[in-house]
């Protein structure tokens, strides 16, 4: 009896192991079947789109069979494909430049708009602060009183369906943004009265006279994609002029001027864009050649760890994510990975993630308290530890409202004037003195200073949970609290509530980063820091979250907005910088690149690096003038 039980037990155990193994086998086979599913949908969507396209041209029909080819295998030849990493984290949703969140990273309409599929009129280069014409021909021509600006289009510019780009397209794009109330429409609609076509190739932007802001127009010219009028008209009639329906359209078949068309996008695994060999930009008036890779693809990874492993394995060529201790990949592991600089800070900082104080909160409304915290923070530790050295220190790049690019730093009139104001942190003595002088002292001996009413000064420093460099930076910020007798704690919250909280002013101290890269900078960054609606703040703020109000700063902003003389601009910026450093509504904790830009040269090489002759910025060979890099890369020989 007993032996039979034992035998039975062994048999059962065997059965269990076998069934588990079978399940395991099933799992390995399932990814193979999923691509097959994706293939059918990916291949079918472009087919559906072709009849929709208003004028199917030769190029479209030519590329169609190839689409099917790539679809069958879901893979493209490695030596014709540039793989991106760290941009896309889920299935792409839309190819609609009017949607609030299309979640398709072959397109991105920020100050450094991605030029892969859709294109902007100008490409911004943060290195020299200049705008390089893309669809536009030559520089924009401003009217004397800056109430309008005229731009000419390149004669060679064509849509992917072969038709010519006209001024009407630019007009229709702006009108659609307004009509659909897109985020861009809501933003720029405050400054642009209308865009009118002067002739086939020329258009004029008329500014709102009561809200004249030429800097915003520069941002518009570099950030907003141009869409085709015929296509937009068709879309509007499809949705019977309903703006929210319009923003929900997927627009995968939209004609675009850029060199690449999405061919695989309906997949959880990756998106692929294929080069259109009829791309207008190979005309001598533009690039004079085609971009190097036939395909640009982005594998969708689960998280930063998976992305990092793929980068190290050479499965990603250009990567955008914060990789801690990145230098170890080449210094210790000997991998062909490099960034902008070979030495610290490795990356070129363009943004300034900052701790901003809620200037309406009791305690933080006093300059002494804000300044004391800003003086006491150990910024060197933030740079070395939270950013693992991938940022300039504040000794190397003294703090002010300008980011560390030459273009912006050139606006400093006299560094010596700012010097007395530029603190470098870890000044515990100075911080304590500020608080003592302001009469904020610890009366009950518990180590924490009190308000006159007797309650302790306690603040929470907030940022989204899981953003490791920001979390670590705030950890270091709160650590200085005990030294200066303030109770500082960290508060890491869900990123979904973060935006709502800062916009509503529901915080003590919060991290944020105002306008890292934008053709309207540094004016727009200054605006984000200081504009206060004359002290009458609306309930929801989309900038100046700390609700800092200084009438002098606001008056300076007004002067600055129409000032075209660079020397006069420098004077105003100097005054604003002094206000920023003396009143400390916000204090930068580190410098952070606009795109973390790291490349693996296993397959492609000749990526832009510091000091490159053409002054191509480290923007992933995709964004703004960084796109020029995609025309220069070449295959590794041998």
């Amino acid at each position: 009896m007993k032996t039979s039980k034992k035998v039975l037990a062994v048999l059962l155990a065997l059965a269990l192991v076998l069934s588990l193994a079978a399940c395991g086998g099933g799992e390995t086979s399932s990814p193979a079947s999923t691509p097959a599913d994706d293939t059918s949908s990916a291949a079918s969507t472009p087919e559906e789109s072709t009849p929709d396209a208003s004028e199917p041209e030769e190029s479209e029909t030519e590329s169609e069979p190839e689409t099917d080819d790539t679809g069958d295998e879901l893979s493209t030849p490695r030596n014709e494909t540039v793989y991106l990493g760290g941009l896309q984290w889920g299935k792409p949703a839309q190819n609609n430049p009017f949607a609030p969140n299309p979640n398709f990273t072959a397109m991105s309409q920020t100050g450094i708009a991605r030029q892969l599929e859709y294109e902007t009129l100008y490409m911004y280069n943060p290195l020299d602060g200049k705008m390089y014409p893309n669809l536009a021909d030559g520089d924009p021509v401003w009217a004397e009183d800056q109430t309008s600006v005229t731009v000419k289009l390149k004669a060679a510019a064509k849509w992917s369906d072969g038709t010519d780009l006209t001024a009407d397209d630019v007009v229709a794009t702006f009108d659609s943004h307004i009509k659909a109330a897109s985020p861009q429409g809501n933003d720029y609609g405050q400054y642009i009265e209308s865009i009118t076509a002067d002739d086939e190739d020329t258009f004029t932007i008329n500014l709102k006279a009561d809200n004249l802001n030429p800097h915003k127009i520069n941002a518009y010219l570099t950030a907003i994609y141009v869409s085709q009028k015929a296509f937009l008209d068709k879309c509007w009639s499809e949705v019977s002029d309903d703006g929210s329906e319009f923003k929900n359209l997927t627009m995968w078949d939209a004609p675009h001027t850029g060199a690449y068309s999405p061919v695989l996008y309906d997949s959880e695994q990756k998106w692929v864009c294929e080069r259109n060999d009829d791309y207008w930009g190979q005309d001598e008036s533009m690039w004079g050649k085609l971009p190097a890779p036939k395909y640009v693809a982005h594998n969708i990874f689960k998280d930063n760890d998976a992305t990092m492993r793929a980068l190290e394995a050479g499965e990603i060529d250009i990567d955008q994510h914060y990789a801690t201790d990145l230098q170890k990949t080449w210094e210790e592991k000997g991998l062909p990975i490099s960034t902008w600089f070979d030495e610290p800070p490795y990356q070129l900082g363009m943004g300034m993630p900052s701790a901003m104080f809620n200037c309406q909160k009791e305690g933080l409304d006093q300059v002494a308290v804000r300044k004391a915290i800003a003086y006491a923070i150990d910024y060197d530790q933030v740079v070395a530890s939270a950013m693992t050295g991938q940022s300039y220190t504040f000794a190397e790049m003294p703090r002010c409202m300008f980011n560390p690019t030459d273009g912006e730093r050139a606006l400093i009139k006299d560094p010596e004037v700012l010097k007395p104001y530029q603190f470098t942190g870890k000044d515990i003595e100075g911080a304590n003195k500020l608080l003592d002088d302001a009469g904020i002292i610890d009366t009950d001996g518990d180590g924490v200073r009190e308000y006159p009413a007797g309650n302790n000064l306690a603040f929470k420093a907030m940022c989204p949970t899981g953003w490791n460099d920001w979390n670590a930076a705030l950890g270091i910020l709160s650590a200085c609290g005990t030294d200066i007798g303030l109770n500082l704690e960290t508060n890491f919250i869900e990123s979904a509530t973060y935006t709502a909280d800062i916009q509503a002013g529901n915080f003590d101290i919060s991290m944020t980063s105002y306008e890292p890269v934008n053709a309207g900078n540094p004016y727009i960054r200054a605006y984000s820091m200081f504009y206060a609606f004359g002290g009458d703040f609306p309930e929801t703020m989309t900038f100046n979250y700390g609700r800092y109000y200084n009438p002098e700063a606001e008056a300076l902003l007004d002067q600055l907005k129409l000032e075209t003389d660079v020397e006069a601009q420098k004077d105003i910026y100097e005054k604003l910088n002094i206000i920023l450093l003396d009143e400390v509504p916000i204090t930068a904790l580190m410098y952070r690149p606009a795109d973390f830009h790291q490349v693996n040269e296993s397959v492609w090489t000749n990526f832009p690096e510091a000091g490159n002759e053409e002054n191509i910025p480290p923007l992933l060979c995709l964004d703004g003038y960084g796109y020029a890099g995609l025309f220069n890369i070449e295959l590794v020989e041998g």
Binding site: W330, E489, T490, T605, F607, V636
Partner: protein, 414 residues
């Protein structure tokens, strides 16, 4: 009672587990006191390897002793590996205009001379990847430093602000590592913030043990109360309590744990709050087991006798039932403590653990190590000691539990 305790200590498993646990506890309590470091102060800026760090300026300022050993070879060997030689040879042939036949890798001296004569970082090196160009330049720099072993002059600024040689350091001078003024030993290196891992670890063990203990006490107290009431009272009370217990048993407690932790705002989640949350979700199994034991005790003669004598219900439970389940409850609590520590570690790994800048736990240490990719940068000291600590704690507690089981469980008694 005393007899049982003696018996427990005679059990080797319990004894080993107990000693292990006490050692960990003692270390957690006393190490942070004797350590020269604070657990939350940043001494370095990033992951630094375990070892002793001595001040370079102090070394430069000390008087050395001459040792009769070959130092140049030692320096070169660390730089010039066989792989590096191949890289250099490849470079010389491709860009340096050197014939492959002219290179003899065995003869280091002439090879190095060849390299120094022909390498030029300004060479366009067409066809070489940027990363490789940079790697070769780094190698060249290391070689130059390593070769320059005769002596180094140290210069300081004089009164006019001009550089002036202060001292010359010969290549063959040594200094006793113990005699350097500023030296800091980090037995387990530093973590991503630059805090001493060993100090932080011991302080974390203390906090984690406290969380486990509080969670275990709460979980056991709730489970015991519900189990006793349900088992002894029977009827609809039993039905109702069993129903509630079953619901909590069916839903995985970790899911409830995550949901509650998520619902409590981050700023309110201190170490105590987390231990309470863990305690509140870990009682169902205790409740079930206690109930079934009480159920079988309820019909015993001595309980019936007490009932007949008119004793009150609390008295019967305390005097006639509790002593019989006590040994089991103690064992269950030991397991609860260990699972409480594990639960904290799991929660913190997910970023739902205690949110405090004043204390640290084992889970939080793991979380930061993961966020700063300690695994990928081979900074094992940031997480392996933590994992071992968690393992040792739960291992010792489980060992104690098994030992007690052998003492108290009649079926297992030898």
């Amino acid at each position: 009672m005393l007899r049982q305790i003696k018996e427990a200590f005679r059990n080797p498993k319990f004894l080993v587990g107990f000693i292990l646990f006490v050692l960990l506890l003692l270390m957690a309590i006393f190490y942070p006191m004797i350590s020269m470091y604070e657990p939350l102060t940043y001494y370095a800026t990033s992951f630094e390897k375990p070892g002793t760090y001595v001040n370079i300026l102090d070394i430069a300022n000390s008087e050395g002793v001459k040792l009769n050993v070959d130092t140049a070879a030692g320096r070169l060997d660390s730089v010039l590996t066989d792989d590096q030689k191949e890289t250099m040879k490849d470079w010389l042939v491709r860009f340096g205009g050197v014939e492959e036949s002219a290179i003899d890798l065995e003869d280091s001296e002439s090879f190095l001379k060849l390299w120094q004569d022909n390498y030029d970082s300004k060479n366009p090196q067409k066809g070489l990847r940027t990363a490789d160009k940079k790697a070769v330049a780094r190698l060249d720099k290391q070689l130059t430093t390593a070769l320059n072993s005769d002596s180094i002059d140290i210069a300081g600024k004089n009164e006019e602000g001009e550089l002036e040689v202060v001292k010359s350091i010969p290549g063959d001078h040594f200094i006793n590592a113990g005699s350097v003024g500023n030296s800091y030993t980090f037995p387990l290196g530093t973590d991503n913030f630059g805090a001493d891992v060993l100090t932080k670890l011991t302080s974390s063990i203390r906090v984690s043990l406290r969380i486990g203990l509080v969670a275990g006490l709460i979980g056991t107290a709730i489970g015991l109360t519900i189990g006793l009431l349900a088992g002894f009272l029977g009827g609809w009370v039993d039905n109702f309590l069993t129903f509630v217990t079953n619901i909590f048993t069916v839903i995985p407690s970790f899911v409830i744990l995550v949901l509650i932790s998520n619902a409590v705002s981050a700023s309110a989640r201190g170490a105590t709050m987390v231990s309470v949350i863990i305690g509140l979700t870990s009682w169902p199994w205790t409740a079930r087991s206690v109930r079934s034991q009480v159920l079988s005790l309820r019909g015993r003669d001595h309980v019936n006798l007490s009932k007949l004598s008119g004793h009150s219900m609390p008295r019967i439970i305390l005097q006639d039932i509790l002593p019989y389940v006590a040994s089991y409850v103690v064992m269950a609590m030991i397991l609860q403590i260990s699972s409480g520590i594990l639960a904290e570690a799991q929660l913190s790994m997910l970023g739902l653990g205690p949110n405090t800048s004043t204390t640290t736990t084992l889970g939080i240490m793991m979380n930061w190590a993961q966020q700063y990719s300690a695994m990928q940068s081979n900074s094992w000291w940031a997480f392996v000691p933590v994992v071992i600590s968690i393992t040792l704690i739960t291992f010792s507690l489980n060992l104690m539990n098994t030992g007690l089981d052998q003492v108290f469980n009649p079926q297992l008694r030898d």
